[in-house]
């Protein structure tokens, strides 16, 4: 019976449950107080690009089209300075079996779970990933349980999550719907313990390696269509897997000079564990409520070591507002004939702004779309927002106030990314890392090198940041 065991007892048993359900002994990768061998953790999956593609192609995952957005590019050039306005392409990941790039993440996890003899898979997710795991499990003949944070204390379901409930159930999964709160993790652990199923976490090495094919494919497609690698690839950023896997795939394709941009919807001020705020957010993912905590400390995930480590790969981190994304969702439908999103449209809004900074012969790629449907649509979100007392109006998107006011731009020239200060993010990462080992033995040179790799900085930078932390605590 789910959640028959006490909260304290289950959390105390967390490490053993995790070990049994992921089948990875993370301890063997530890190399220092903080450091672990990240590359070996990923390499030990045994999947290179070719092998991943082989597994994914069995279920029709991947090889999605790359579509040039000619009319949106024209609109960008209308607004940009002469000679500016990069070509914009989108990777139509909605063409995957369950309608999003999450099929890439689910495919290796479910394949591995099956290979190792697990009876079923469990995923803690309210988003597309649940549908992806359920779809892959259906194809593999495995059982699937999805644990969702789905409704508030008034019983009001977030419409996008309601659609995910429906999709998971359509694929034959058991869906456990919970009200708001991080204790979802407790229910998740109970389910793992009771069933002995595989933990198809978003953050295992399999989940990240599965995304590498996305970056790899798009690099090849851009080169084939334009004769060059993309200048900018923009990924909608939440838990960090999308950015990490895509960037790794780009590098494996040889696109080492391509800049990787992480784009999130700005939900500053809204608390992710708040019952009140839950339905005052018009985005369920791809927002700063996930991307900030996960970028500044990835190891808050449902596995001991998160294989998504975005700060290693991000060249630029930007935010856009909810209203800007809704505006661009409408533009995508009406100018390009593509009704997609919400998730990829965060990157689209960022691309629209950033393409104006680039030269006309440069190339920007939005690396995903997702399927649109009932609940997963600006209409559903804006109608709910109005019902919850959030003001919706046309105006200057700078007047946007998460949870209180959604401002739909009056003119495309008002769409502008806001840069997140990566220096601040790096400092925050180092602070979290030091807090995580507080009171333990001093860090070795290996740890300093690890932190330098994690923050894409240098040993000298890390030493200075560590000294600063000691001075101020």
């Amino acid at each position: 019976m789910t959640a028959a065991l006490s909260y304290e007892a289950v959390l105390a048993d967390r490490d053993a449950i995790m070990r049994a359900s992921v089948g990875i002994d993370y301890q063997q990768y530890v190399t220092g107080v903080l450091a672990f061998d990240y590359e070996r953790l990923l390499a030990d999956t045994g999947y290179d690009i070719q092998r991943t593609q082989d597994v994914q192609s069995r279920t029709g995952v991947g090889n999605t089209p790359l579509i040039e957005l000619h009319h949106i590019t024209s609109l960008v050039r209308f607004l940009a300075a002469p000679g500016k306005g990069a070509r914009i392409f989108v990777k139509d990941e909605a063409a995957n079996p369950s309608g999003s790039f999450k099929d890439r993440r689910a495919s290796l996890s479910v394949y591995e779970a099956k290979r190792r003899g697990y009876e079923g898979v469990v995923a803690a997710t309210s988003g597309n990933y649940g549908a992806a795991v359920a779809s892959q499990a259906a194809k593999a003949g495995m059982r699937c349980i999805v644990v969702q944070e789905a409704f508030d204390s008034q019983g009001i379901a977030q419409p996008e999550i309601a659609e995910k409930t429906r999709a998971c159930e359509a694929y034959g999964a058991e869906v456990i719907r919970l009200s708001v709160g991080p204790e979802l993790f407790y229910v998740f652990l109970c389910v793992l313990k009771e069933t002995g199923y595989f933990n198809a976490s978003l953050y295992t090495p399999y989940s990240i390696v599965g995304i590498e094919t996305l970056g790899y494919e798009l690099a090849g497609q851009v080169q084939e269509q334009t004769g060059r690698f993309p200048d900018l690839v923009i990924a909608t950023h939440a838990g960090g897997g999308n950015v990490t896997g895509t960037a790794r795939g780009l590098r494996k394709a040889g696109a080492v000079d391509t800049k990787v941009v992480a784009a999130s919807v700005d939900l500053t001020g809204l608390h992710m564990a708040s019952d009140r705020d839950f339905n005052r957010k018009s985005f369920t993912t791809g927002h700063t409520g996930f991307s900030m905590p996960f970028t500044t400390w990835p190891d808050r995930a449902d596995v001991p070591r998160n294989a998504a480590r975005p700060l290693r790969y991000i060249d630029r981190f930007v935010t856009v507002t909810q209203g800007e994304v809704f505006y661009m969702t409408q533009v995508l439908a009406e100018l390009e004939g593509l009704e997609r999103g919400p998730a990829g449209n965060t990157s689209l809004a960022a691309a629209f702004s950033m393409a104006q900074e680039l030269d006309a012969d440069q190339i920007v790629v939005i690396q995903e779309t997702e399927y649109t449907g009932a609940g997963k649509h600006p209409l559903a979100q804006l109608n709910l927002a109005k019902q919850m007392g959030v003001e919706v109006r046309r105006g200057d998107p700078r007047d946007n106030k998460p949870g209180q006011r959604i401002v739909i731009p009056e003119h495309p020239s008002q769409i502008a990314v806001v840069d997140v200060d990566l220096e601040h993010v790096r400092r925050s990462y180092v602070r979290h890392a030091l807090e995580a080992v507080h009171g333990e033995q001093p860090m070795s040179e290996i740890d300093l090198d690890f932190l330098a790799a994690e923050t894409r900085s240098s040993r000298a930078y890390v030493k200075e940041a560590v000294n600063e932390w000691h001075r101020t605590t």
Binding site: T2, A3, G181, Y327
Partner: protein, 104 residues
């Protein structure tokens, strides 16, 4: 007299996982004041009535217990009404691009 729901009917159960006041320490005050609730669908194991404590068999074959709250629960999420704030965007951007495709 309570109406019976037959064994094998597709239903939803509800259960309190953590009561109000026993939530995790890190959750905000207003979340502390409400319980952590769970809803799951499955096939009813025995003939019962709404409000009964019942057992269900989920789609993966697990047996779960909770209060019977709904019978053949509907998917009610939708698109809703058109939103006026979005209606003019297409026309506006087409006008900027030259208004040749039904803009302006």
């Amino acid at each position: 007299m309570a109406e019976y729901i037959e064994k094998g009917t597709w239903v939803e159960i509800h259960r309190i996982v953590l009561p109000a006041g026993q939530r995790a320490s890190q959750v905000p005050g207003e979340t502390q004041q409400v319980p952590l609730e769970m809803r799951v669908k499955g096939f009813l194991a025995e003939r019962s009535s709404l409000g009964d404590e019942v057992e269900i068999v989920t789609s993966v074959g697990r047996r779960l217990r909770g209060m019977l709250t709904d019978v053949n629960p509907a998917y009610t999420h939708s698109f809703g009404s058109p939103v006026p704030e979005l209606l003019m965007i297409g026309r506006e951007v087409r006008t900027i691009l030259g208004g040749t495709r039904g803009g302006g």
